[in-house]
Symmetry: C2
DNA sequence: TTAATAAAATACCGAACGTTACATAAATGT
DNA sequence: ACATTTATGTAACGTTCGGTATTTTATTAA
């Protein structure tokens, strides 16, 4: 069994980079990109500003690296949803898992990608745009899955895959707002149940 | 016909306060509460900082006064929706007018109350909370209207007025995010049409 | 003509912002 | 032992932040 710790030269880092990024992620999640200050980040991480900059780069780069952890970890449930056997189950899985995620008390409420840079100053338009593109790419994953469902006869041929995907995406984004405003798991689940009533099926 | 302009003492104000608030509103609408800087506000208004502070107070008070114009003007369509004769028409009016409003090119896209203070620093939690309460009060207006619809036999007795209201509210908030991300009037209208398919009716 | 009033313009306040120079400490390679 | 490498802590950088003290200007009342 190989030891992965190859001894590095120089003074050893006193903090774990992964843990540090997770803490930074939590701050960005709560405060948004601009609402999170470098001072708040370094305080939460227990390190000094030069250490933060040396390890991760400037604020935008710290955010992007925290975002990578977010999409690799918490948000991976989207893949799980897309892999469901039927379009209905894809939609149901996507929405219910989103609700579970949003109301999980182990991390800040709501969705980082939805909220972290919705309204920003002119300095942060690149970050705003980055998150917009992330949202769209997730929506497109759903749309492609529903196109496949039409080919498989699982959705009616007159169903609009893009509209269904955008409908789910819109509900998801709205629920993210709702949960940060205090909506409960139960309330959101009722919304999900109602929203799925009109889901198109072939039989 | 009485002249309303009673001559005031002192140097006359060179800007119109209503117009100034409307311009401030537009900045807050685009940038959010924290994303809008006093410098950007004064530049847009064409006045100096002391004039702004003397006329309206500090940043939070300027925001609140701009917000008052927003709820009295653009957002008045909610009253119109609630006054529709049936629950279905209430929902339809609410969503379609929201889409028209969101995509109106005469002002920034999306909803100020949804977006202006979703993710903020610890300094602006009061503003964040204020907007959350506004959202909830609008949702409650819808819920009360649907309770009335149940009494009138316009909605099934087993319908949950709160859930229906929260469903509409969630869609509204999600569409606000969608439109700031580039969604078109047509795309949102398709979502609205789909969302209304499962609306409960008594016959 | 002068006093009183109120807004304008200039110029500044301390604090916080993101970011970095610089000297020091702790490890390894030779 | 000593050079090299890399992270650390302190302390500062220039800029922007929200907010204001002070002086000047424009108007009305007396």
């Amino acid at each position: 069994m190989l030891e992965k710790v190859k001894k590095l030269r120089g003074r050893p880092r006193v903090f774990d980079m992964g843990e540090a990024l997770d803490k930074a992620l939590e701050i960005f999640w709560k405060r948004g990109f601009e609402g999170a200050s470098i001072a708040e980040l370094t305080e939460a991480l227990g390190i000094n500003k030069p250490s933060l900059y040396a390890a991760f780069g400037n604020k935008e780069e710290i955010f992007k690296k925290a975002l990578s952890r977010y999409v690799a970890g918490p948000v991976a449930f989207i893949q799980e949803a897309v892999n469901q056997p039927t379009a209905y189950e894809v939609a149901q899985s996507f929405l219910t898992k989103a609700v579970e995620f949003f109301t999980d008390t182990n991390h800040p409420k709501g969705c980082l990608i939805v909220q972290a840079a919705l309204s920003v100053s002119a300095d942060s338009l690149l970050v705003q745009d980055l998150l917009t593109k992330y949202r769209y790419s997730y929506e497109q994953q759903l749309a492609k899955r529903f196109e496949k469902a039409k080919e498989e006869g699982d959705l009616p041929t007159d169903a609009n895959a893009e509209t269904l995907a955008k409908f789910l995406s819109t509900l998801h984004q709205g629920m993210s707002v709702q949960v940060t405003s205090g909506a409960s798991n139960g309330e959101l689940m009722e919304i999900v149940e109602f929203a799925l009533k009109s889901w198109p099926r072939t039989n």
